[in-house]
Symmetry: C2
């Protein structure tokens, strides 16, 4: 998906919400977890049982309830890898389900990968060829080598970690590089090898005061902003400080939407939470 | 596996070699690639066909030929993820095969993961519970949150990127933090939350001149050293500058061993290359 299509979807739906599909079996409603004890069911032409069955049922219900109110989904790979091969099958089916049911929606692999060029090419193949993601999150520690292979795909995106939302984010991200904090050096370095059509950056909502400053040297790129909801960032501040003339923001919420309710009503509650999050008047 | 057991294996075998299982279908010998076109075969109680079949056959042959001459294997996850679910099945079978056939050998998931604490716990579960790795490589950009969940497992290891072997490594790894280069700040920070019994660092062989300096502030931890062989680092310099009284080194070689020969003789050639690499007299 290209930048124009993403912006059109944002205007049409009036939101910059990205729903993080950090699907945790232990946090699902009891009746969905109970499906793991039942037999096989078919989904997208394959048979599933056990935890994979519960994860797929949960994700499909969440996606159907939230699709009108979001412009992107972001499965975090850790939540699928932790169940091994079954988890990876559930991830592939989830991506296929979004792609076939809601083809306008942007899909991000929250993978935070970063490796030497030879290896980065294999990760790019994993997310952009074997699986049909639009974008993948990447860690910048190893430099440009680890990012460039992802920029060679048309209408696909690299989303590089800049200033993250977690408590220990500033330990290394505020180191100094040529008179700038490291996160700024990372962004300026990455902007020099990319365009706003194939590069986004992760800036945590818990660092909302930094967004206005970031917009002085990075006016055009989309910023993926986690940390609203469970992590406590303010979406009003994020939009006030971070929006640009192409919206320029994807605000992610995961736990506050996925686990809004633990009863049989969980999907409707997730839809309601999504409808109330990250509204954007444009 | 604990540090004592790893050191004992090094003394017994007289090597600090780690074989990187960066198994690339396109680089395998033709007769192994051709197996992808044949029917299913059983391995470790499962049925495999297609590329997964070739990858498993190749890895088993490489492992059987090199096991006497190495103390560790390090599959890089990108080379398995790029084939989706089939690739992940091949990875799981490879790990099981090493564990059951050569139980003394240390197994590293070269994953370079790094995410917020909540998510890092899921990655730890993936590599230390769902799969039976001894260690996982991690990226430090997000700080301590992203590392601590891996330190909670007995006799398991976090291996944190410090100074890597690739061309663009120094773009950010030499940023300044409190009067030290960033890679040193990363190492000292990580040493403050861990012990030499559960923490190693990645230092590239292409930075061998830095190893002696690194040993002044990090005398005890094992260092995982990639970059000999295809990347051009010198193993003699690495051992001279980096060894300590518990060996303290794992020297990784991947392509120079895996693809030493592209004929029917590839496994014997890999064994010969392994026998000649990273010898350590103690």
């Amino acid at each position: 998906m290209n930048r124009k299509q993403l912006f059109e979807q944002i205007r049409k739906k009036g939101t910059v919400l990205c729903v993080g599909l950090d699907t945790d079996f232990d946090k699902m409603p009891e009746h969905i977890r109970a499906q793991a004890l039942k037999g096989e069911v078919a989904a997208m032409g394959q048979l599933f049982k056990g935890r994979a069955r519960s994860i797929i049922e949960f994700n499909k219900a969440i996606i159907d309830a939230t699709a009108p109110y979001c412009v992107a989904y972001k499965p975090n790979l850790a939540f699928y890898e932790c169940y091994g091969v079954d988890g990876m099958r559930a991830l592939e089916v989830t991506v296929d389900y979004i792609r076939t049911s809601y083809p306008d929606i942007f899909i991000i692999a929250d993978a935070k990968r970063g490796d030497i060029g030879n290896t980065a090419r294999m990760y790019a193949k994993a997310y952009f060829e074997t699986m049909d993601f639009d974008a993948v999150t990447l860690a910048p520690y190893m430099g440009q080598d680890s990012i460039t292979p992802f920029l060679e795909y048309k209408d696909k995106w690299a989303i590089v970690l800049a200033l993250t939302s977690n408590a220990s984010a500033t330990e290394f991200q505020l180191a100094q590089k040529d008179g700038r904090p490291l996160y700024q050096a990372v962004m300026e370095d990455m902007m020099s090898i990319s365009t706003p059509d194939n590069m986004m950056f992760v800036v945590g909502a818990t660092k909302a005061d930094k967004l206005a400053e970031i917009r002085t040297f990075c006016p055009d790129n989309f910023l993926l902003v986690p940390g609203v909801g469970a992590q406590g960032g303010s979406e009003e501040e994020v939009i006030a400080n971070g929006a640009n003339d192409h919206a320029g923001l994807l605000i992610n919420s995961s736990r506050a939407i996925l686990y809004a309710d633990s009863s049989g009503n969980f999907a409707a509650a997730a839809g309601k939470a999504a409808a109330a999050t990250a509204n954007y008047a444009g």
